[in-house]
Amino acid sequence: MVFELMNPAGNVNVRVSKVANRLRVLKGARLGLLDNGKTNAAKFLNMVADILVREYGVGAVKMFSKDTLAKPASRELLHAIIADSDFVVTGLGDCGSCSTNSVHDSIEIEKLGIPAVAVCTEPFLPGLDALTRMRGMPDYKFAVSPHPLGVLFDDELKGRAQLVVPQIVQIVLGSAESAQRAATTASAPVTP
């Protein structure tokens, strides 16, 4: 006797895409920052930008904000960002809804043609890996910081910025040279 049961999980119709092309060099590249409005997100992103400018020669930096904190960024905002940027760092992803939305935004930016790295914290990795598959970009990589992040005071926040920058560089360049440089600095592992 066989019971034939229906599947409750619906159909995932996903078009798989590859990440955007990597940058060849960081020197002079235009950096776009997408602040999701979480506590200290803007402050942290600026700390990250400072290091990228001082140590890696990144050029102009422009901050963008979304008012829909834990909802996807609007198409208008995404187009405004890519018009003025060669690569993007988004954050902060240190809670359930905002981390997934930062990764969602970053994947949408990658589909529009430039690298976008979301900064998220470790406890959110399992969900974020699931999300990259649901959005059809399983080779998407993001930067990982220990948790917590946004609630920290300035000195610890700076420490975290120093941890994530080498990961951002490695992801955006995707090259062996940057990987070696990243390996010489203390860093949390990049998600595969």
């Binding site: 019971f3 834990a70 406890p123």
Partner: protein, 346 residues
């Protein structure tokens, strides 16, 4: 010998059924409780009651962004134990859940671990047996229990928000199993929620609200002012407010059971007056705010405006209790959808 053979056959069927139910319990498509197996027959019956084609797409469910069909909804509703007759309410509920204003993604995935509270209004309550009175938040009523449960199964299976994966609720709360109530319109002296929100008398509706677990207001002193003071102080609680964060500044629900309702009504209070009064007075003083937020630039009103307090008449007819349900965030707003019965335009 014949009797033994029949008994053996029965035992085999029983064993097969139990094995099926056990395997479902252990599968990833569940909330930890046993389900009713979604057979083609039971799902088709539910789809017929929905009055639409099974393949008709109702919308996208986040975070997965899966396009959800009437049949997808039926499968999960049957698993939850819903009767086919609940279909119009379940469909209205799913439409509300998928509305961008409600932001089911945030409600389901945030560390705050909120749950959609489902409030049912109108004649449909009587038709399908929605409990609006004693133990309204508790077990014992199939319609409440299974419609509430269908919400969670859809979030798990269609939204793909699984605990410790995309659902990052730190603690969660029991309402995530099932959180469905009806308004006691027959006993309440006040305008029902759905009419306040734009529907017409005679219509039925579902309102979804992303909320925490309920906080009991326990005031027995025989004075309307005392009840209001209890409501205000339960709302203006520094430890639950997280002022500077995504999860503050949310809408709230106030549920008033009969004894409190009657006491307030006898002194001339109605929903609008209660809302205005409470919104003005539920304020957290600066010093208290500093203790939990590190800094504060003045006192903070818990409700951004009176309309942010939804008031529902529900609960038993004895007992001086009310309940406050804080919302997930300003980012999730309650959504009300009319219940449509019979064949529908798609």
């Amino acid at each position: 010998m014949k009797i033994a053979a029949v008994r053996d056959e029965h035992e085999q069927v029983e064993a097969r059924l139990i094995q099926l139910l056990e395997s479902q319990l252990d599968s990833e498509w569940g909330d930890g409780l046993p389900i009713l197996p979604p057979t083609h027959q039971s799902v088709d019956a539910f789809v017929r009651h929905a009055g639409m084609d099974g393949a008709h797409v109702l919308g996208k469910f986040r975070p997965s962004e899966i396009e959800v069909s009437v049949r997808d909804v039926a499968i999960n509703a049957i698993m939850a134990g819903c009767k086919p007759g609940y279909a119009p309410v379940v469909v209205a509920m799913v439409r509300a859940l998928m509305d961008e204003e409600f932001d089911v993604w945030g409600v389901a995935c945030s560390t705050k671990g909120s749950a959609p509270l489902v409030i049912v209004n109108g004649p449909i309550r009587r038709e399908i047996g929605i409990n609006c009175r004693g133990n309204v938040f508790g077990p014992g009523f199939r319609a409440n229990a299974t419609i509430g449960r269908a919400v969670r199964l859809m979030i798990l299976n269609l939204g793909r928000a699984r605990p410790n994966e995309l659902d990052k609720g730190t603690l969660g709360h029991p309402g995530r199993f099932s959180y469905c109530i009806g308004e006691d319109e027959e006993d309440s002296p006040w305008t029902p929620l759905h009419l306040e929100r734009g529907l017409k008398a005679g219509e039925s509706a579902v309102t979804v609200f992303g909320g925490e677990s309920l906080r009991l207001v326990n005031v027995h002193y025989n004075s309307a002012d005392a009840v209001l003071a209890g409501i205000v102080s339960t709302l203006a609680c520094p430890g639950i407010l997280n002022a500077g964060n995504l999860t503050g500044r949310s809408p709230h629900v106030l549920v008033l059971a009969k004894e409190h309702r009657d006491l307030l009504n006898a002194r001339g209070w109605n929903k609008a007056r209660i809302r205005e009064y409470v919104a003005e007075r539920a304020v957290i003083p600066e010093e208290a705010l500093k203790q939990v937020a590190g800094e504060a630039d003045g006192p903070l009103a818990v409700l951004q405006k009176p309309e942010d307090l939804l008031i529902v008449a529900a609960g038993g007819h004895a007992g001086r209790f009310a309940a406050i349900i804080p919302g997930w965030s300003w980012q999730s707003q309650p959504v009300t959808v009319r219940v449509q019965t019979g064949k529908q335009e798609q």
